[in-house]
Amino acid sequence: MNSLQNYLLLSSLLFSIGLAGALIRRNAILVLIGIELMLNAANLNLIAFWRFGPNPAALTGIMFAIFSISIAAAEAAVGLGIILAAYRHSKTTDLDRMNSLRG
């Protein structure tokens, strides 16, 4: 078992942890953090494949990772804004009690 497989296994474990958090947490902010963890696992995959790929001088994996981090940051800002707006309506961030779209 070589090193690339280790990195891929670690990133799939990270993805599963994020998926579990996104599925089972009740706090909406922590669900968003779980989604961020899944994006991080994808970034780790991109960097690992870039490092072990045949042509690392092309910088493609690094560019993908940089753009992915930027999109994740924008997504976190908009997601937290939506959670704040929803909290103002329903006075809770508990996802089991946020069960109506109309305020």
């Binding site: 990195y7 891929l8 670690l10 958090g21 902010i29 960097i47 690392p56 924008a74 976190a76 996802l95």
Partner: protein
Amino acid sequence: MNVPFIILAIITVVGTAAAMGMRNAVHCVLALTVGLAGVAALYLQLGAQFVGFTQIMVYVGAVAILAVFAIMMTHSPEPAKPPTFSSFWTVGSVVAAAVFAVLAWAIHSSSLATHTLPPQPEVTVQQIGDALMHRFVLPLELMGLLLTAALIGAVVIAMNHREETK
């Protein structure tokens, strides 16, 4: 499998698992910063210095602070603490474990073992800037547009509309 990788992997997995499993939301975000710093150290170990430091600035700096602010602003004063996990947490855990099992099986049975580690590439920030300004200039401009739209959108969504309706 070398020792630094094992240490960083343990830090990352323990930090992220604690971030998803702890009861207090602020403690969760603090554990998350540990896990994401571990991921940044893995980037550094893989030779992607710029991505590693970007990860530290964006995630450990900005996103964690943003999440802590959101947790504090949505802190409810009710004394009765709701359960941490959802009512269908067994189903969620089983789904996540099944996803990991499938991914691990696919990675294990793939032909990746024939890959050998190429020599460490020399990647400077100047090369990354050159690539961003020439080959990836259109994605860069689109990213600026997206970040502007996200900034305005987040402000508009989170703005308090109650004063306008009075």
